[in-house]
Amino acid sequence: MKISFRINQKDVSLDLDPMRRLIDVIREDLGYTGTKESCGEGECGACTILLDGFPVTSCLLNAIHAQGKQIHTAEYLAKTEKGKLLIDCFDETNAVQCGFCFPGFFVSSYHYLLNDGEPNLEKIKYALSGNICRCTGYTKIFEAILLACDRIKKQV
């Protein structure tokens, strides 16, 4: 069936099996390979995208869930002002190791920065609780987001 939505500020309309996993639509049909598949069952958050501004795991959604909605992936967020600031912070704190989980972490932390942004460790942990990282021990990821929150506060 015809499924239409907006992804990374572009309108798309595709003829799809409505039950096709949304992650496959994003990665394979549209080529946004920044969204990663790791566990395939909604545990690890590597496939996190923003669906109408809310972070969701795209491996658990079907194409039909995107109908009429707005999707943003890591590739797009990386070009926004807050996204660039976050990337600077991840880079400076050496928060990234293998990086496979990172587009997902990036989307979740971008959402936190946009919607709360308080430099509060417990809140940040909650915001990242849907993302698994096996390399870093998370510590430097927390450090990066705290730093980003501080920088944004200073800008205002």
Binding site: R27, E28, Y32, T33, G34, T35, K36, E37, S38, C39, G40, E41, E43, C44, A46, T73, A74, E75, A78, L86, I87, F90, D91, E92, T93, N94, A95, V96, Q97, C98, G99, F100, C101, F102, P103, F105, F106, I124, K125, Y126, L128, S129, N131, I132, C133, R134, C135, T136, G137, Y138, T139, K140, I141, F142
Partner: protein, 724 residues
């Protein structure tokens, strides 16, 4: 000590760095590994589902292999694919490829295998009890051991168990194979630690059917931790076979449940320790260790894990008389393999726990028992290697004062008198030998290459991969510093067996310690050949001399000797040392341990890049925390784990405060770093649990269920004693 930024951090966050599954082309077929869903049986027939057009599929079986059906390992006993007999669950029977991923999956789910069931050993604990399951070569170290008992000594005899641990790299395993019929060559691209292992594996399975194999890694490797040391050999072999048969490029990317079910894990261990300790001085006079690993159905690289385990099983202690025995056991479960630590986490868990039990038995403080028995400069290990440095003592004393160990211990005990929830503090020390065990590096003879182009780029060619640990950044930093040349113009090329010499596998904490040191020496050699001390201007002034290439091969130190039969001699030229204090909080209503704080003091020699080094310690600590608290693979009555829903990994909520200090940082040598932070936290957590709960534990992981069992059984014992 600089903290140069990682060059790959930004594209990784933005999702533009390419991992294996991000490589696509229209021609490409998707591959899948079809594996046995039973433990042991003789295959009588394979029924392919009737409702599919078989012409669209490429299917390979053991009988299609033109070369040898044996994975080249230290012990080459494992076939790429089962022929008639399956001896473990998850053993691969077929490789299948199709253009459409979904059709491929539907097809494979409907394949029926008819087989005659055979007896199987799948209970790992039982397997490790029964000596008739023993296989492979036994290791025995005897260091002045006399069996006669000592009347002044306290005898303690305990058995320790550790479970499987899954590497759980976020990027599942995968390979692309592209066969070129005209050149009779096979190009392999994939996520791996050891490109030259993969090359040899593909050459073995393809035999004389092809002339050339080139192996290259994908741009990004999404974590490995040992899991991508040997299993990629099998995937690459079968992908190559599928590409050869179909004439098309074939990409195999495992989905998570296939990955977790069929790939290698950390070996479960049963470690039995006997000790004789002087009642007055607290000095351990004699020690025996019986170190047993479950290898799974095949030996593969387990003998090497066994060797490292045995060589770390006596801990960082000076013991006059020791007898250490190491053996592998066979079960009908997938072969276990490499995982960060490689036999040492099991060994250090057992010896560190045992030291604590000795201390409790004699009423000695946990720090004091270690001080009394610590390996000091000039002491001899059971392997006769003489210790050259006192850094472990410095690690221990620093971590005790930095963490405020004694005050906290007293305060927690006070707290525990008046609260149902409990607090505990634990201590553990550890060591890790850098590089291959024994004569390994001598045999490997690693080689590295550096080229300098006309365009002033310094390019580093090694076979070692960056699976997230930051190897490319750190190696480039070593060369850039040695050449006094800008880091921005110094790059590590993506490993490719056609371009990079064999600098050995990316394992054994050897990438910086061995390969980095070779590159540093090569850079010094280049410096010596460039007369005016300024590489940039020299290239500009002498364009005719470039591009130019330099190579250097590892030269073993002739004074370092190790006997592979008696295990006497220098097992590792340099050891890293560490001490750790862990603070826990026990939630009594849910029987759960929460780790609050970890202090690490490490001697890894010179940390080349401080932030990258810290990242290794933090990540290793948290993997060790998972090992201690939540991670296991088989559960009686439940079966095996299938993914991240049932295999429980630490998440953001579980993370304690992690404190790290490095000592001996002005050392000229950058020693092994990757593995040691995984070795020691688990026993520290266990002994903090003992401190909090006043009960002894001998087995990992300390899940709420297991803690409940121990508390219940000691409660029952108490009631039984009162009844009597």
């Amino acid at each position: 000590m600089s903290s140069a930024r990682k060059f790959d951090a930004r594209p990784k966050v933005a999702g533009t760095y390419r991992f294996l599954d991000d490589y696509n082309n229209i021609e490409m077929m998707h591959g899948l590994l079809f594996y046995a869903r039973f433990d042991h049986g003789i295959i009588s027939k394979i029924h392919l589902p009737p409702d599919f057009n078989l012409n669209e599929f490429t299917i390979v079986h053991a009988s299609d292999i033109p070369g040898q059906n044996l994975v080249p390992e230290p012990v080459a006993d494992q076939p790429f694919m089962a022929d008639k007999e399956v001896i473990h669950f998850g053993q691969i029977i077929l490789g299948i490829a199709h253009h459409d991923k979904k059709t491929l999956k539907d097809f494979s789910e409907q394949i029926q295998v008819e087989y005659q069931k055979q007896p199987a050993t799948t209970d790992i604990k039982q397997c490790l009890e029964d000596e008739k399951n023993c296989f492979g070569k036994e290791i025995l170290i005897n260091h002045n051991f006399t069996p006669k008992s000592d009347p002044g000594c306290t005898y303690l005899h305990k058995v320790y168990y550790t479970p499987h641990q899954e590497q759980a790299y976020l990027e599942t395993q995968g390979m692309i194979a592209i066969y070129d019929d005209q050149k009779k060559s096979m190009f392999i691209q994939g996520t791996m630690q050891c490109p030259y292992f993969v090359k040899e594996a593909v050459e073995t399975i393809m035999g004389s059917a092809i002339r050339q194999v080139i192996v290259e890694t994908s741009e990004g490797i999404g974590g490995a931790f040992g899991g991508k040391e040997d299993f990629p050999n099998i995937i690459a072999g079968i992908a190559a076979l599928l590409s050869y048969k179909s004439g098309k490029p074939v990409k195999i990317v495992l989905d998570r449940s296939d990955d977790i079910i069929i790939t290698t894990k950390r070996h479960p261990a049963r470690i039995e320790i006997e000790s004789w300790t002087d009642r007055i001085s607290g000095k351990i006079r004699k020690l025996t260790v019986d170190y047993r690993l479950d290898a799974g159905a095949y030996q593969t690289l387990s003998p090497v894990v066994l060797a490292r385990g045995v060589l770390h099983s006596f801990g960082t202690y000076n013991i006059e008389e020791a007898q250490i025995r190491g053996r592998l056991f066979r079960s009908n479960t997938p072969p276990n393999g490499a995982f960060r630590g490689f036999g040492a986490p099991q060994a250090i868990f057992a010896i560190e726990s045992h030291i604590d039990h000795i201390a409790r038995e004699l009423g000695i403080d946990l720090a004091d028992i270690r001080r009394i028995n610590l390996l000091r400069k000039g002491d001899e290990m059971p392997t006769t290697q003489i210790i050259q440095e006192d850094h472990i003592k410095e690690c221990l004393e620093t971590v005790i004062s930095w963490s405020d160990y004694y005050n906290k211990k007293a305060r927690f005990e006070e707290f525990n008198h008046t609260h149902s929830d409990k607090k505990g503090i634990g201590l553990a020390i550890g060591f890790h030998g850098g590089g291959y065990t024994g004569n390994g590096e001598k045999i490997l003879k690693s080689e590295v290459k550096i080229t300098i182009d006309k365009d002033e780029l310094v390019k580093i060619y090694v076979a070692n991969t960056d699976m997230g640990q930051g190897a490319y950044t750190t190696l480039a930093q070593i060369v850039s510093e040695a050449l006094s040349y800008p880091l921005s113009k110094t790059i590590v090329e993506i490993p490719n067996t056609d371009k990079a010499p064999n600098s050995g596998p990316t394992v054994a904490s050897r990438t910086i310690y061995i390969v980095g040191a070779l590159l540093q020496n090569l850079a010094y050699k280049i410096n010596a050949e460039i007369p005016d001390n300024n590489l940039s201007s020299y290239i500009k002034n002498h364009p005719g001399q470039f591009p130019r290439e330099w190579k250097l091969q590892f030269q073993p130190d002739p004074d370092i000797r190790f006997d592979d039969n008696t295990y006497q001699g220098t097992a590792y030229k340099d050891y890293s040392w560490a001490a750790c204090v862990v603070e826990i909080y026990y939630h009594c209503q849910i029987y759960q341990i929460e780790v609050k704080n970890i202090w690490n003091v490490l001697d890894i020699g010179r940390p080349v890049n401080r932030k990258i080094a810290e990242g290794q310690v933090e990540g290793g600590n948290i993997q060790a925390m998972g090992y201690a608290l939540t991670e296991f693979f088989y559960k009686p009555g439940f079966g095996r784990m299938h993914g991240f829903t049932d295999y429980i990994l630490p998440t953001a909520f579980d993370i304690p405060e992690i404190n790290i200090e490095f000592i001996n940082t002005s050392s000229p040598i950058a020693k092994g770093l990757g593995e040691i932070p995984m070795d020691y936290p688990a026993p520290a957590i266990l002994n903090a649990a003992q401190h909090a709960l006043g009960r002894n534990f001998y087995e990992l992981p300390l899940t709420p269920e297991n803690i409940f069992q121990v508390l219940k059984s000691s409660h029952n014992t108490k009631i039984a004693q009162e009844d009597n």
